[in-house]
Symmetry: C2
Subunit: 260 residues, 2 copies
């Protein structure tokens, strides 16, 4: 284990770290409270795109987590800003629940394909329509490219990443990534706390997108928890490897407070 | 253009070379007859997996092409042989029309995921079931990994390849490829004519899987036609580049007979 730097702010992944489906992971609510009591600012960083931000906040509050809208970072805001800045309208291949977050985007001008975890919406016809748009020159904006997540039935399920890969392979158009592990996603969250990336700790269950992504972006410390999608040995599959591998959010909280 | 070797046998791709959908390409039927009149053996090599072999033969005959079942090579036979040899039953993610070609495969023992161009069958749930089988250790057998094909509506449509990529990315399991551009597919067809690969010419509209694949396998000559899925500049996107790029099957036939 590398030495653990002092943390002045905390970035937390959601699903697999704080909860699995509708089940709060043991000690997660108390861990958040302890971090807050210690005066550490927190940002919640999720690539989950099966919910509108409104629904995500409602779920967090229903599960007992104390958090404010401005503390929750999803890739949607960055994609919306890109569309606005570049004068594109979105061609959406996203979960129906996410559509409301794009409802006020422009509906004219050239299209950009926006892909999230569309779940059952990933039909052949919708994938093919997106492929044709890309073949006609549309830019490709990916909310996330995670490989899989732990489904509430206990099994692993396909996330957005495999479908990003599929459309890149077919069209030859490389996707621009907005969620983790994109460096800008971590850096924007650190900046929103007024902190240097090196003074921040990231906690996640995805060795690739939470951990290697954060460290590559310059985040000082990244703790991989053995909950959620974690599988034995994950910490050795991606570079950089986590600062530490620990049991769960409780252990992460204890480690952070010990050093803070 | 490299020099064109003498051809003693001909390998022909089907869709995009002889026909597009239900439309015979100009001069295609006559071109086949001329090759036969010249005494050149022919094999038809297709990665198309939206039809059973029985239906494919019926289509060829309905369109006016003179060909026998043993002249038509699809990846199915090689996959069936692999399953038999390795004692696996297939977990099929294929077009419903193709299922009959696997009907007599074993229905017990460990599963192997078999993926073809399943078209509208590529639902999230079916892809996820295949992903879970792969995550549990099933081998991954791909009938083809073509990127797209020219649909009868005139547009390009997703082929099997993007879905192979998606499941490889999610599961970390690399697919074993049986159709073009797998070298064995070309070599088996050449051997069935009793010819050395170097004495054979391949004609196709796919610069990657027909042309680069054949040349990499040792086929002596590969002619890329400007019909079907061909798009300007395709000949420069994959290595090795075609021996020659020509208008269509008529021109290919003329060139072959001139040298034969």
């Amino acid at each position: 284990m590398q030495s653990l730097a002092m943390a002045r702010g905390v970035l937390l992944d959601l699903s697999g770290v704080l909860y699995d489906g509708d089940t709060v992971l043991p000690g997660a609510v108390a861990a958040i409270s302890r971090l807050r009591d210690a005066g550490l600012p927190i940002r919640f960083l999720t690539n989950t795109t099966r919910q509108a931000k409104r629904q995500l906040l409602a779920q967090l509050q229903r599960l007992g987590f104390d958090c404010a809208a401005e503390e929750v970072f999803t890739p949607v805001a960055a994609v919306r800003a890109w569309l606005q800045r570049n004068g594109h309208q979105p061609h959406l291949l996203v979960h129906p629940a996410l559509e409301e977050d794009f409802a006020d985007c422009r509906a004219e001008g050239p299209v950009a394909v926006v892909l999230g975890d569309a779940a059952e919406r990933f039909s052949y016809d919708r994938l093919n329509a997106a492929f044709r748009a890309l073949s006609n020159g549309a830019p490709f904006l990916a909310l996330a490219r995670n490989r899989f997540f732990r489904h509430r039935d206990g099994g692993l399920s396909l996330d957005a990443g495999p479908f990003v890969e599929a459309l890149e392979y077919a069209s030859g158009v490389k996707a621009r990534l907005f969620g983790k592990p994109a460096a800008n996603f971590f850096l924007a969250a650190a900046a929103s706390m007024g902190l240097e990336p090196k003074d921040v700790v990231m906690v996640g269950d995805d060795a690739e997108s939470d951990i290697a992504g954060a460290l590559a972006a310059g985040i000082g410390t990244a703790l991989l928890v053995r909950t959620g999608k974690y599988r034995d040995g994950d910490e050795h599959h991606f570079q950089p490897e986590p600062t530490a591998v620990i049991d769960d959010i409780r252990a992460a909280c204890a480690l952070i407070l010990h050093r803070a």
